[in-house]
């Protein structure tokens, strides 16, 4: 009797989990379906969930209406030119905080942590003015430089570096490696999972970042994909083309997620992503 009961409970739970999974999957997959449907079909009544015919027309249209590949290029530059140096600089600091002794270490670390408490939306106005006054408006310097310092990365890499045994460092020092050599050749390879995690989350965050590019760029040649697409749907009712753009914007991130799922999950579990 008890067995039957627990069996049916298991079934009901699985059913519930599947329903929720469909609630997530169906709309996401639907972006893909709609990207390949003719505009007229999207606007027909009664609406249909599945496509009657498939076309590449939307993709041709969007390349004509906005500089979509330019946006993609800007997004790629923004993601890489921000996150690669950012991870390098912040993990360098994380390493120093974890393993080197120097005067004022605690004060500097607390200073660093304090910046995590500052909500970006509160400082966006003065930060914008600063960027504008420094001549970084509407260029990559303004997109990238203000976001290079990331206390969360310092915090996460510091925790990983702190877990490495002291003998390794001493052996390397006896071998005559410089401090930077110890960091770069010995320490970084040992915390590779953390570095990759930070990089993957950072790239995803920059790719989807809407607000900062919105504030510091205005020229269409400087728009990133997320931002340019938001501007485009704002000014047009062309759902077919908008879906093509949405499709282009989510596919790289889905691929990143497919291969880096472990890093997403670990990173979020330790840092608690915003979103």
């Amino acid at each position: 009797m008890r067995k039957i009961k627990s069996g049916s409970v298991y079934f009901l739970i699985t059913l519930l989990l599947i329903v929720i999974a469909l609630l997530v999957l169906v709309p996401t997959v639907w972006i893909g379906i709609c990207a390949f449907r003719p505009q007229t079909e999207l606007m027909q009544y009664p609406p249909k969930f599945f496509a009657d015919q498939l076309t590449l027309r939307n993709f041709q249209d969007i390349t004509k209406r906005i500089r979509i590949w330019g946006y993609v290029k800007n997004s790629v530059i923004y993601c890489l030119a921000l996150n690669l140096p950012s991870v390098f600089l912040n993990s360098l600091a994380g390493y120093a905080f974890a393993r080197l002794q120097f005067k004022g270490k605690n004060v500097l670390f607390i200073l660093c942590l304090a910046t995590m408490m500052i909500p970006f939306q509160v400082i966006m106005v003065p930060l914008f003015l600063e960027v504008y006054k420094l001549g970084m408006y509407d260029n990559f310097a303004g997109l990238i430089i203000p976001n290079l310092g990331a206390a969360m990365t310092v915090f996460m890499t510091r925790a990983s570096f702190a877990g490495i045994p002291k003998e390794l460092e001493e052996a390397a020092r006896l071998d005559g490696l410089s401090e930077f050599g110890i960091f770069w050749r010995i320490m970084v390879p040992l915390v590779k999972p953390t570095v990759v995690t930070v990089l993957v989350l950072g790239i995803n965050g920059s790719w989807n970042d809407l607000m900062w590019p919105l504030l510091v760029t205005s020229d269409t040649s400087m728009r990133t994909l997320t931002n340019g697409l938001a501007m485009f749907i704002d000014s047009s009712l062309q759902y077919g083309t908008a879906f093509a753009g949405a499709f282009i914007s989510i596919v790289p991130m889905l691929v990143l997620y497919l291969f880096g799922q472990r890093y997403f999950v670990e990173g979020v579990a330790t840092s608690g992503l915003k979103g």
Binding site: L89, L210, I233
Partner: protein, 294 residues
């Protein structure tokens, strides 16, 4: 030259070179703007720093009388008070069902996390079409079962709830993943002895799991709370504050005032309201944490 080199090669000196870039960046682009935000709020100026200059408390006087500001504050609070509990309850329940690292559970967890890797823009395009007032599938399905004339994205009484739903839909995977990793650290013996006592699974969840992950729970609560108070992306891409300002959040209003109306000083004053709320919540939270530790 050699002297300089020898000086910096000492680990305790080299350390400053290692931390300096980040400290400088955070100082210039985080801490100084934080102080400047307060200063800006006493000025009347546009993005070119042109305007009446120092106006003392005028921006705040205007803000206190600004109905649209109070409205945006209420919208933000309403959004947060519904979104955060909804997200937490969904996340807790799912994490409880998916704690074990089986293949099936991993698959479900991976799926639930999917929407958060997609941009708010893409998500918004999809929901705008799905909920379209004429040719949206959801609208059509409701018509089929006799519910007519629902306008999800342009109805002052329901659109805010649609935005809340979209937000929970997009990010409940985050809470789920965080709770799962906390629940996996609860010692298995606790459940084993509860099993022996004949304590049911559901009861175990409330008397063992929840108390054991209390720290994580409060961490998620505070970060999600602060995050929700800053809601912007979904509002910007989906409704732009409409209809009739019913979805205009505080941050969206700040954006409109500072950047669309080009009133940087007033925008700063408005953002100080957000800062004050976040500060009070953070202090209350840590004060409670401190008391409990004692």
């Amino acid at each position: 030259m050699d002297k300089i080199r020898a000086y910096w090669e000492k680990p305790s000196h080299m350390a400053y070179l290692f931390v300096m870039p980040v400290i400088l960046l955070l100082l210039v682009f985080r801490l100084i703007p934080m102080a400047a935000a307060l200063v800006c709020s006493f000025f009347d100026m546009d993005m070119f720093l042109v305007g009446k200059g120092f106006v003392g408390l005028d921006n705040y006087r205007e803000a206190f009388a600004d109905k649209r500001l109070w409205n945006s504050l209420l919208v933000t609070i309403k959004f947060t008070l519904i979104e955060v509990p909804a997200q937490l309850i969904v996340g807790l329940a799912l994490a409880g069902l998916l704690t074990k690292n089986t293949k099936r559970n991993k698959l479900f967890r991976a799926v639930y996390f999917l929407p958060i890797v997609c941009s708010a823009t893409a998500v918004s395009i999809m929901w705008r079409m799905f909920l379209h007032s004429n040719v949206g599938i959801m609208t059509y399905w409701l018509e089929r079962i006799g519910i007519r004339g629902v306008n999800f994205l342009n109805d002052p009484s329901i659109t805010i709830y649609v935005i809340i739903f979209m937000s929970v839909w997009r990010s409940f995977g985050i809470s789920t993943v965080i709770f799962v990793s906390a629940m996996q650290n609860v010692p298995a013996e606790l459940y084993e002895s509860a099993d022996l006592d004949g304590c049911g699974k559901l009861k175990q969840f409330f008397v063992i799991t929840i108390p054991m992950i209390k720290e994580t729970l409060s961490f998620v609560l505070i970060t999600r709370f602060i995050g929700s108070l800053q809601v912007f992306d979904l509002v910007f891409t989906t409704t732009e504050g409409g209809p009739n300002y019913t979805t205009e959040s505080l941050v969206y209003y700040t954006y409109v005032k500072a950047f669309s109306n080009n009133r940087m000083g007033y925008g700063s004053a408005v953002s100080m309201f957000l800062f004050a709320i976040i500060l009070v919540i953070t202090i209350l939270f840590y004060a409670r944490l401190y008391r409990e530790e004692k």
